[in-house]
């Protein structure tokens, strides 16, 4: 099978070109080829009409093609200045001229219209500022083509917005900008042209004004996805989760909320707003100073994950690689991790029961695998996420907390996960959904709560929640 088959794409100077497709469609391969990291078996790359073959990424870079990867490639212990000037000469003789270096870096950021403390080490910068630094590095290297692979995936709505404006600025300065993204709303909003890939083939390129999110999805998955219809919820259903006065110094400030049985409550907030900490606190993974958490009327002891689990709370963490998956294990063992105790017969793990359970969940969640013994690492992001959700459904929860359930998940799997969450809610589960994907939050949630600096700063019912209203409540100011 070919990762990429006879794909042609033209990036025009002064334009933003969106590249979309499901995981495995070939987007990253295309980016790697243009960036010089992969040699194509066939085909050519032309820059301003002149054909080139790149010997490697540094060669492509020298000719003005810069790639900003999804994962941060910057040197975390060095300052922003060093990362901006990386690969360029900043020395006079043997000595680094620091004042000049900082000044140069600052001027690049000023051109981009963003504020970054150039003397701060990268690790202390926010994800958005790190992205800006990588973009600044590309710009300082006199790039004429810049490809951004999922640049907004780890950013909250406010910062995503800023990054999109920076991309527009780059295009206005005459660069050709390639924008690979799963966030179709952003692609529609910012790009001039959009190319859709599917299974290594190019489906087509369209002017963005002729496209829409649903058209893109149709081309990406090759079929039409039904719309998710919101269900009317019983306002008098039992309170599944009741949090009152949750406080943790410097992180959470008197947070109170309720999730009723059958309800999906969304939490929106910027990074650092306390939204993820709130989830951990409810699950008992983060001890809090004060507050009361109860599930279907009975109080939980604070700071105990095992008590929370016993009471029926499940928590699907964000960052499935770091916090979720056991990368060395197969699908089956990843599914049953949280219910090992229930699978024990004396000291032993009951293998038959374990197998039956994982098969059931793989089937129910439509996880695409070669078998339950397939190593989890070899699954696609969407299927890994489904396995993680399966792990928590196996605990038969009554309250489900999901943090970024669809980050880095392709459209088809995302749709299925949304459907699943709705089904679970219909079955009486109380769902707390945390997401930086605003459209997801707005379509999924019966109510959206907004967090800012550890406090709840707004609440919107379905219908009143619009992107603008939610973002300005989250950011604490009105966006222009």
């Amino acid at each position: 099978m070919r990762a990429l088959d006879n794909v042609s794409i033209e990036l025009a100077a002064g334009e933003i070109h969106g590249i979309v497709g499901e995981n495995g469609a070939g987007k990253s391969t295309l980016v790697e080829i243009i960036g010089g990291a992969i040699h194509p078996d066939r085909g050519t790359i032309e820059l301003t009409g002149v054909p080139f073959t790149f010997s490697g990424p540094s060669d492509a870079r020298a000719r003005g093609i810069a790639v900003v990867h999804q994962e941060f490639h910057s040197l975390l212990h060095l300052s922003a200045t060093e990362n901006v000037l990386l690969g360029s000469r900043i020395t006079s003789g043997a000595i680094v001229n620091w004042p000049r270096a900082h000044a140069e870096a600052e001027s690049v950021f000023r051109e981009l219209g963003v504020e970054v403390d150039v003397r701060a080490p990268m690790r202390s910068l926010k994800p958005a500022q790190r992205k800006f630094t990588e973009i600044a590095n590309a710009l300082y290297g006199a790039a004429s083509v810049i490809l951004l692979d999922e640049p907004t995936a780890a950013l909250d709505p406010d910062d995503s917005d800023r990054l999109l404006r920076v991309m527009r600025l780059l295009a206005e300065r005459g660069l050709a900008v390639g924008f690979v993204s799963h966030r179709l709303e952003e692609v529609i909003r910012i790009t001039d042209q959009v190319t859709v890939l599917r299974d290594g083939h190019k489906v087509g390129t369209w002017p963005t004004r002729d496209a829409s999110v649903s058209i893109l999805i149709k081309h990406m998955v090759g079929r039409e996805l039904e719309k998710i219809e919101p269900q009317t919820k019983d306002p008098n259903a039992a309170v599944a989760l009741d949090v009152s006065g949750a406080t943790l110094k410097g992180v959470l400030d008197d947070v109170s909320l309720q999730v009723r049985s059958g309800e999906v409550v969304g939490i929106c907030g910027l990074l650092g707003s306390g939204r993820s900490e709130l989830a951990r606190a409810i699950f008992g993974a983060l001890p809090i100073d004060a507050g009361r958490i109860s599930v279907f009327g009975s109080d939980l002891p604070l700071g105990s994950t095992s008590h929370a689990m016993a009471a029926g709370v499940a928590f699907v963490p964000p960052n499935r690689k770091e916090d979720g998956l056991i990368g060395t294990m197969d699908v089956q063992k990843n599914v049953t991790l949280a219910v090992l105790r229930r699978l024990r017969r004396r000291l032993l793990v009951d293998r038959k029961k374990e197998q039956a359970m994982s098969l059931e969940f793989v089937k129910r969640l439509r996880v695409v695998t070669t078998g339950i013994d397939q190593p989890i690492e070899t699954l696609s992001g969407g299927n890994q996420q489904k396995v993680l959700i399966a792990r928590w459904l196996a605990t038969e929860p009554r309250v489900l907390i999901v943090d970024e359930p669809t980050q880095g998940v392709d459209v088809g799997a995302k749709f299925e996960i949304h459907q699943l969450i709705n089904e679970l809610a219909e079955g009486g589960m109380g769902v707390l959904l945390i997401s930086s994907d605003l459209p997801e939050l707005l379509t999924m949630s019966d109510r959206v709560l907004v967090m800012r600096s550890g406090r709840l700063s707004g609440e919107f019912c379905r219908g009143e929640a619009t992107q603008e209203a939610v973002i300005s409540a989250a950011a604490g100011h009105c966006l222009t």
Partner: protein, 322 residues
């Protein structure tokens, strides 16, 4: 589609153990052709007898490393247990009491490691490096650097007895291999250890008390070093505070050559057992064919590098497939 990457990983693991077994047979055949006595029953028995300390302690080390830690103090615990058991055997004489003292003593020292690592969050390599010095220092002071000998015969009888022509310590070693292999593979404990080594945070977020399991691996590692120490002193009848110096390196060598990932989460007792026996066999073969003592260790070092490189390269290739 690639057909079943799952089976591929399984193949690699199987291949690793098959490879070790083949190397073992090969060593016996090659050396045995020149020196027939090398492959004879009595030499093989002696060889296994010599493997006992490293073999038994490797099992504990494998548990610790699979669980994402490391235990540098095993050599020190080994000698401390040997001294404790030796003192009881010399002054009281009850062989069972002597053996229990060594084993429980080892477990207690192991629990100090476990406590430092899980309660005070000291990185395993630092904690066990410190306790290594601590245990050795205390033992040297306690014994005033004197050799302990003149043990009573009943204790020595354990160390030197044989059944079916095979020394009791060798039977003990094989029992440890089998029990550990089964426990790792089939018990909930084994599953959690592998999971913790694979991703500690994920296991913690699954409501499992990670620290308990981690601490337990150090206690087991200590107890096994205690068993090895007791058996060693029962075999030789003497022990000095400097015995077992560098033992931890031989043990870690066996564990990684056996295919255990130094990053945790992967490894089998079968592989570790084969590697422990193989390394001892190669050392012994080098002596038999008359290679200079200095070169022997160098050659063992090369074997360890080769084995680990094969593992790392295999892993990279797998990652690239993904």
């Amino acid at each position: 589609m690639m057909a079943g990457p799952g089976s591929k990983i399984k193949d690699t693991v199987v291949r690793r153990e098959t490879l070790l077994a083949l190397l073992l047979v090969l060593t016996f055949v090659l050396v045995g052709l020149q020196y027939p006595r090398f492959a004879g029953f009595s030499n093989i028995t002696n060889l296994l007898w010599d493997t006992v300390p490293v073999g038994i302690i490797s099992v504990g080390m494998a548990l610790v490393i699979i669980g994402g830690g490391i235990d540098i103090s095993v050599g020190a615990i080994f000698v401390a247990s040997a001294i404790m058991a030796g003192l009881v055997a010399r002054d009281i004489g009850n062989p069972v009491l002597a053996a229990l003292t060594g084993i429980i003593g080892g477990a207690v020292l192991g629990s100090i490691n476990g406590g430092l690592i899980t309660k005070f969050k000291i990185p395993p390599i630092v904690a066990t490096l410190a306790t290594m010095s601590l245990f050795r220092g205390v033992m040297t002071e306690l014994t005033k650097s004197q050799i302990i000998d003149h043990l009573q015969g009943s204790f020595m009888a354990i160390g030197r007895s044989k059944s079916l022509g095979v020394p009791t310590p060798v039977w003990v070693m094989f029992a440890v291999f089998i029990i550990a292999a089964l426990a790792l593979r089939f018990t909930g404990f084994g599953r959690v250890i592998y999971s913790v080594g694979g991703n500690e945070r994920a296991v913690r977020l699954s409501g499992i008390k990670v620290e308990r399991y981690q601490a337990l691996t150090y206690v087991i590692s200590g107890a096994l070093a205690g068993i090895a120490g007791s058996l060693a002193v029962a075999r030789t009848g003497t022990v000095t505070p400097v015995a077992g110096t560098g033992l931890e390196l031989l043990v870690i060598g066996a564990v990684v050559v056996g295919g255990t990932s130094i990053f945790g989460g992967q490894g089998t007792i079968l592989g570790v057992a084969l590697a422990a026996i193989l390394l001892q066999t190669i050392r012994s073969a080098l002596v038999v064919v008359g290679i200079d003592a200095a070169w022997q260790e160098a050659i063992v070092g090369v074997i360890i590098i080769t084995a680990v490189s094969i593992f790392v390269i295999g892993q990279r290739r797998r990652e690239r497939m993904v």
